[in-house]
């Protein structure tokens, strides 16, 4: 193949322990310089993007199974991204690249996506930061979206190496000012050609109308009102301009402690109980102030305890639940499991996979979040209580828990528009500090806590367990998580709505200029072609059925229930003979011990939770009703698509979800055409033709990593760790080489 030096790395578990050997040595590389220069790839710059530095004849390693290839090209660093311009892009010009990101190419790393940079100095791997005295021969970049890039700088001119390495380090790691974010240069330059998707109905919650609409939708408008007391952020910069509070709450109260201590409405349940949040009052030493605070809070509680409000239960999510520190530690351990420099390294961790996974406790944290959300759901749904979430700023775990509760209780949040509105409401307007939590400005590493990623992972568990309940797919969640690091969207690049508005250019020196028009991430057409967007939509999602049809279906299902296969023994027993109702008794007898470990609070709470959880799971699932996740040990899983997608070994050719998908789509088409036929007959009216996602149609054998890791797709090979194993199909040479087989010497 063109310009590729092919080198064997030790494959298989028995291979040599990986050290950071540079696998390719200069003399081993056979490359056709002429062709490289002919196929120069041009650098695509976004509006406002500027080239900062570049280096030529950089060798990028392409990881394939146990081998590594090198591809020559140019490494450039702009104020938006690091990009490698090689020649291997042309090879991918086929159908499967339809799922292409229009903003971020395969070999592009946005500056905010860089996690760690390592240099290899004489086979030793070191983290790179600050001013370098010596420049490495090889550069390894770990990305926040789990890609790992390795660049060999051995053939690059020393001057260029210095420039590119220090450039990359400076632009990705040095603290930045907010004003220097690429977001602004992009918005300024692209002022006139911003595209807005006319179909984008995501509620942004930046107007009073949006909040009223939400109140009306959830029937919360009887007891709660939207207020504009914070218009222009007069009262508090942490709160959005508009928000919702209990109707009898005097507006002066909001101003009293700059928005602290005020119950802010999140969502109302169909039975009238509501989810509220409150940021804690500042901690004070002075008894006098404490007294004032206490009486203030008493007043507040009196307001919301009174009829028509339900009993309020306060959940303090900043104590006794999860600390941000825990999340940070767990995630940094967890991500290391997937950031591997070569295949061999992955093999090494593999034997102890489960215990490594467990020791990161990331999955356990997910379980705890889901459990907390179920507990709150139980209070609201079964006990008809209001729940008040309490947190220091009400902007981290509050956002997480309240969003999860709404996802479980409100089917609207499981549509794509609903989910986007939810994130907009709870996270963006809720003042989650995306800028600090993602450490976009590299100002304080300690503040970097992946709360939002934790949320997406929790959502993934729900999507994975109940796929038909969600209009979006796991691919949607994956690309959403990737969008956290693309600084052309304003959504995830501010700490609060106030900060965004303050930087929109209104305060600039020339007041004449229009305010900047920032893109929102919900405009998916910026990143993906319509064809690729079909992969974000779950073809199996069912919208709420019409009532009569629902009843008919229900009858039919009931009838069939008695025919169930005996394979699931303890489950299928109906109420006949000696058998009892399974759910309550069995669980009390057998599982009391287990479930009790899930709950460390009072017995009563434990019972309520258990009963609620078990009775829900023993009933049939209504995808348009309450939805609870399973939280037992075996049920919390690794979000494989996000974490494993760049690891070639994790790919199953012709297997995985994709294989069933094509079959599914085929059947769906048949169903659709039959439906149409029936409708024609029945109503003699035209039914709008549905557009079936066609990305998978022509795919005979895609890999399980689809739609990601297209990079590896064309060159995947059977993994047979070999020594003395060669030149199959190369008949001419066989005779000559008969005696030259090599073994690794470990037999």
């Amino acid at each position: 193949m063109l310009g590729k030096g092919v080198v064997g790395g030790g494959g298989g578990t028995k291979g040599p322990k990986p050290s950071f050997v540079s696998y390719v040595r200069p003399e081993e590389i056979h490359t056709n310089e002429k062709e490289v220069t002919e196929k120069e790839v041009t650098l695509h710059l976004l509006p406002g993007e500027q080239l900062l530095c570049e280096a030529s004849t950089v060798l990028k390693y392409v990881q394939e199974d146990s081998c590594q290839h090198g591809v020559y090209g140019r490494l450039v660093c702009t104020d938006f991204k690091i990009a490698f311009l090689g020649d291997d892009e042309s090879a991918l010009d086929n159908d499967e690249t339809q799922f292409k990101n229009k903003v971020i190419g395969e070999n592009d790393i946005t500056l905010h996506c860089v996690d760690q940079i390592y240099g290899v100095f004489d086979e030793k791997k070191k983290t790179l930061f600050g001013q370098l005295k010596k420049y490495p021969g090889k550069l390894i970049i770990h990305c926040k979206d789990f890609r790992v890039f390795q660049f060999c700088l051995g053939y690059t001119k020393e001057e260029e190496v210095k420039r590119i390495v220090s450039g990359i380090i400076h632009h990705t790691q040095a603290p930045k000012l907010l004003k220097r974010l690429f977001l602004f240069s992009y918005a300024t330059a692209a002022q006139n050609n911003t595209v807005t998707d006319p179909k984008n109905h995501t509620v942004m919650f930046d107007t009073l109308k949006d909040w009223c609409w939400e109140l009306e939708r959830t029937k919360g408008n009887m007891k709660y009102k939207a207020v504009s007391v914070n218009e222009g952020y007069k009262v508090c910069e942490r709160l959005p301009a508009y928000f919702v509070v209990p109707t009898p709450l005097p507006e002066e109260n909001v101003q009293r402690f700059q928005g602290h201590g005020i119950p802010i409405w999140c969502w109302s349940c169909h039975n009238g109980s509501a989810l509220l949040k409150m940021s804690a009052l500042p901690k004070e030493q002075d008894d006098g102030i404490l007294q004032i605070q206490k009486s203030f809070l008493d007043g507040i509680y009196k307001t919301i305890h009174r009829s028509p409000y339900e009993i309020v239960k306060t959940e303090d999510v900043s104590s006794n639940f999860l600390s941000l520190q825990e999340i940070q530690t767990a995630y940094s351990k967890f991500k290391q499991l997937f950031l591997t420099d070569n295949s061999t390294e992955f093999w090494d961790t593999d034997i102890k996979w489960f215990s490594l996974l467990e020791s990161s406790s990331w999955l356990d944290i997910i379980r705890r979040c889901l459990k907390k959300a179920i507990e709150i759901t139980e209070c609201m749904e079964a006990q008809n209580m209001n729940v008040l979430l309490l947190e220091e700023n009400a902007s981290d775990l509050c956002c997480l828990i309240s969003s999860l509760v709404q996802l479980m209780m409100d089917p609207h949040c499981r549509t794509r528009i609903g989910f986007q509105s939810l994130i907009q409401k709870e996270w963006v307007m809720g003042g989650h500090c995306f800028l600090d939590r993602c450490n976009h400005l590299r100002q304080n590493d300690k503040e970097e806590v992946p709360v939002f990623l934790l949320f997406l992972d929790c959502v993934w568990q729900l999507v994975h367990q109940h796929p038909p309940a969600f209009e979006f797919t796991e691919t949607y969640l994956t690309v959403l998580s990737d969008s956290l690091y693309i600084p052309i969207f304003s959504t995830f690049f501010f700490n609060s709505p106030h900060q965004k508005d303050a930087n929109m250019g209104r305060e600039g020196q020339d007041a004449q200029s229009k305010p900047l028009n920032l893109l929102t991430v919900w405009d998916w057409s910026v990143q993906f072609e319509p064809k690729a967007q079909t992969l974000l939509k779950n073809p199996l999602y069912v919208e709420k059925p019409k009532l009569d049809k629902g009843q008919r279906k229900g009858m039919r299902f009931k009838h069939q229930r008695q025919l169930s296969l005996p394979l699931t023994q303890s489950k299928s027993s109906p109420k006949r003979g000696f058998f009892r109702e399974e759910t309550d008794h069995l669980i009390k007898n057998l599982l009391g011990k287990r479930i009790s470990k899930l709950i460390n609070s009072s017995d009563e709470l434990q019972d309520n939770f258990r009963e609620f959880y078990d009775s829900w799971h023993s009933k049939s699932t209504d995808y348009h009703g309450l939805l609870l996740p399973h939280i037992e040990g075996p049920e919390i899983k690794v979000w494989a698509q996000r974490y494993l997608r760049w690891i070639p070994e994790a790919q199953i050719l012709g297997g995985g979800q994709v294989a069933t998908m094509s079959k599914l789509l085929e059947m769906m088409e048949e169903v659709q055409s039959l439906q149409e036929k029936i409708d024609e007959r029945h109503h003699s009216q035209q039914v709008p033709q549905a557009e079936a996602p066609c990305l998978l149609r022509n795919s005979a054998r895609l890999s399980s990593l689809f739609p990601f890791a297209l990079l590896q797709r064309h060159s995947s090979k059977p993994v047979l760790p070999t020594s003395g194993w060669k030149a199959l199909g190369d008949e001419d040479d066989l005779a000559k080489r008969e005696d030259e087989f090599v073994d690794l010497g470990d037999v």
């Binding site: 215990s355 299928s572 075996p634 050719l653 012709g654 659709q672 066989l734």
Partner: protein
Amino acid sequence: MPPRVTFQPCGWQWNQDTPLSSEYDFALVNIGRLEAVSGLSRVQLLRPGSLLKFIPEEILLHGRDFRLLRVGFEAGGLEPQAFQVTMAIVQARAQSNQAQQYSGITLSKAGQGSGSRKPPIPLMETAEDWETERKKQAARGWRVSTVNERFDVATSLPRYFWVPNRILDSEVRRAFGHFHQGRGPRLSWHHPGGSDLLRCGGFYTASDPNKEDIRAVELMLQAGHSDVVLVDTMDELPSLADVQLAHLRLRALCLPDSSVAEDKWLSALEGTRWLDYVRACLRKASDISVLVTSRVRSVVLQERGDRDLNGLLSSLVQLLSAPEARTLFGFQSLVQREWVAAGHPFLTRLGGTGASEEAPVFLLFLDCVWQLLQQFPADFEFSEFFLLALHDSVRVPDTLTFLRNTPWERGKQSGQLNSYTQVYTPGYSQPPAGNSFNLQLSVWDWDLRYSNAQILQFQNPGYDPEHCPDSWLPRPQPSFMVPGPPSSVWLFSRGALTPLNQLCPWRDSPSLLAVSSRWLPRPAISSESLADQEWGLPSHWGACPLPPGLLLPGYLGPQIRLWRRCYLRGRPEVQMGLSAPTISGLQDELSHLQELLRKWTPRISPEDHSKERDPHTILNPTEIAGILKGQFHPFWITRC
């Protein structure tokens, strides 16, 4: 009736169609634990010396197949019976431990008793079966040998097997004597591209074969190929004891009252090592498939006993390489050939004899197959439920398939040997004149225990044979096969090929009989450049990186999963809502719509009729989980 505990629900009726079916059937041998519960007291009754001192409110039967049967006695004054029933189970269970071998049933089903009943799957007990299968595989260089017709070469071998054309039966007999327990090299599977997969026992090192014998052994191993790879099957795979221990641990972990905390579940699972063993098997099978496919050669699986891991690997390799083996029929034939006929000691391995060599190798195999099913959902005709049914059948004492250690014992019992030996066989078999063994039922007679609706669910709705671009025909495809270099002999071990000097251990110096003397690899010559070591596939495999039909499974830690529907059946909180089989939901929808359409249009062309299904026989597999999932109709509304 065979020894079992069964529960018959009120209104339960003997079903003519499925005479042995009961959802609540527990073979006595299957009972792993029996607990009686009354109030807060709870007694384990199968421990020696444990006594029941109270009238149980309910009893819990923990199956060794991970099922759980819970019977409550409270209602309706059943106390006296409760005690009796419980004690009866305990006693019966104790007696069944005394190695009473049940002999299987040979009842003739109503309507089938005409004597000409054909088994649903060829049982590989006749020469015709072997010949048919040989032709199907187009194994031209092979013939059916009758040398073991009277089981005098080896009782653990089937009466017929395949040997190379050119080898005489007398040579076969002599050559087989030099293998452990007389299990010499036989063909397992002929790759349509030309390669042969063989299996054999270990070389019997104490024997002293003459030159001709060695020549015969070599010819049989070579099978007409110049390139021979010996695969040490035991290498890198768990020992029998390992498998048994892992399975016991897994069972303990999956018990409903297992005391593992949720946050320690993963490491506890890892601690059982079961998944690790599954992984090792898949990995090795994947490697061997590549060996078989990548060029024309003879690949010999060698295991000392040739009755455990050889069967496992050979079956897995066929599943990976032959689409035919992934059909329902093909898979059952495969199990019948590579496990049942090949003499896997089912009875011992599943603990039926109480011997120490218990090890559920077959269950390990089923788990591997389940992993493949997960990874390649469109490539298998059978479903997870079929695998579960098979899993649950291994201890059901209805048929002899899994109740004997060797084909000889099985044949003896079913009376087919009466013409050869005058052994009196007690039990239920009363051989009528003539074709007595035709009435012998096998586990493949699914309709004995499962209703039609259930058997329908053995089909994988997602099966899509056209999934692979070229439909695979068992014809030679020499296009991607290249002839190997002359007389090269390799040992495949630890994931690598090592050249060997010779095939058999006896040849040069009879004094150096120790296996190691000849298994030493040639000294390495490291002159080759690194680049040459790369696995170079023949270039004409082209853009599609794998030859059609070949599956290469993933076997990394995150890819190997726990078969929850099987192992966690005893834990209701886990099994609820295990799945929402969307494809079957769609299929259901489809048949419903077709039915509607038919109602409204009395005249439909005959082609349309062929597509329709009888709405009454369609069972919605969502019911397996007992949960109503999803309604799939308004698809056309969803789009906006």
